[in-house]
Symmetry: C2
Subunit: 185 residues, 2 copies
């Protein structure tokens, strides 16, 4: 049963890595040149800070999950520790912390990029920010696909951090605070 | 010790409610009228979808936490269930789910509003979206304060959902998956 859960976690991590890389590629390779206002103008991801940040964040989070995936596999091949104590426990807390940071950073970057895209789609007439998606439609379509992938990856990351938290917290005693179960019985 | 943790949770919930209401008020009451381009123009939160969404989201999340706070207090006054079983367990899972939804919705809305504010602050010259904060400086300053409050509230909400997860997951057996500790010993 534990084996089953570790497989699920590995599958989720692998899927999230694929989705994050796909998001970064879709955003990073997104550009469109159009003849607007008597000149060729190019829409590219690096003109908007949020999209640039999203590409970097997704690449780093994908890398982090890849490292965790390999770490998990090499641990499974060796000795499986059912009940981590001491330094292993600190490691479990650290991995939960890193998982949580990964989720929130990826989710925040995705939401920021989503907002920039919404402004590009609708424009804000009061601020005289004109809409762009009627001109750069292919660019916007690709960005929509990228953001969908990004949100799906975030959902997987949330599940992963749930599993990490579950595996850590169930070691603790339900009656006495911060006492390990093996001690309290 | 359990009493100590419940007090911490109640304090965190109360603080998050205050911060969320403060954020919603700061955003909702933020407007500035200026004489620009031969006409009086007004910058207001309801011109940007992200800010409108942020006000509603923060109000709803604050309301949810207030309900949870009163629920917690009335439960503490009555019988404190150390080891929830059956329907109480489902309730604990539901409350974790709701806590998580509250965190992610509030964090996403805050990040979206942050991105809109960054565009207002810097502008994007390639898209001919001009910067606004040099004209509406007081408006932007108030928005900055509101978003800081919002991120602080998100941090508290993350801590709260950690406590909820800890209290639920430590009921489970560390050896057998999804088996309660009272059964497995």
């Amino acid at each position: 049963m534990k084996y089953h859960m570790e497989n699920t976690e590995a599958f989720l991590r692998l899927s999230s890595v694929i989705l994050l890389v796909l998001t970064a590629l879709l955003v990073g390779l997104d550009h469109q040149t159009k003849f607007v206002f008597f000149a060729y103008r190019k829409a590219s991801f690096d003109e908007v800070n949020a999209l640039l940040v999203l590409v970097y964040v997704d690449a780093v989070v994908a890398g982090y999950n890849l490292v965790r995936l390999f770490g998990k596999c090499s641990m499974s091949a060796g000795l499986v520790k059912q009940n981590p104590q001491g330094s292993s426990l600190y490691l479990a807390w650290l991995s939960l912390l890193l998982d949580q940071i990964a989720v929130y950073v990826a989710f925040g970057a995705n939401s920021a990029a989503f907002q920039a895209s919404v402004i590009a789609l609708t424009g804000i007439s009061e601020f005289q920010w004109m809409k762009l998606c009627n001109k750069y439609s292919r660019f916007c379509l690709q960005m929509g696909g990228a953001l969908s992938c990004g949100y799906l990856a975030c959902l997987l990351l949330i599940f992963i951090s749930f599993i990490t938290a579950f595996n850590l917290f169930r070691l603790y005693s339900p009656k006495k605070l911060f006492l390990l179960k093996s001690i309290s019985g």
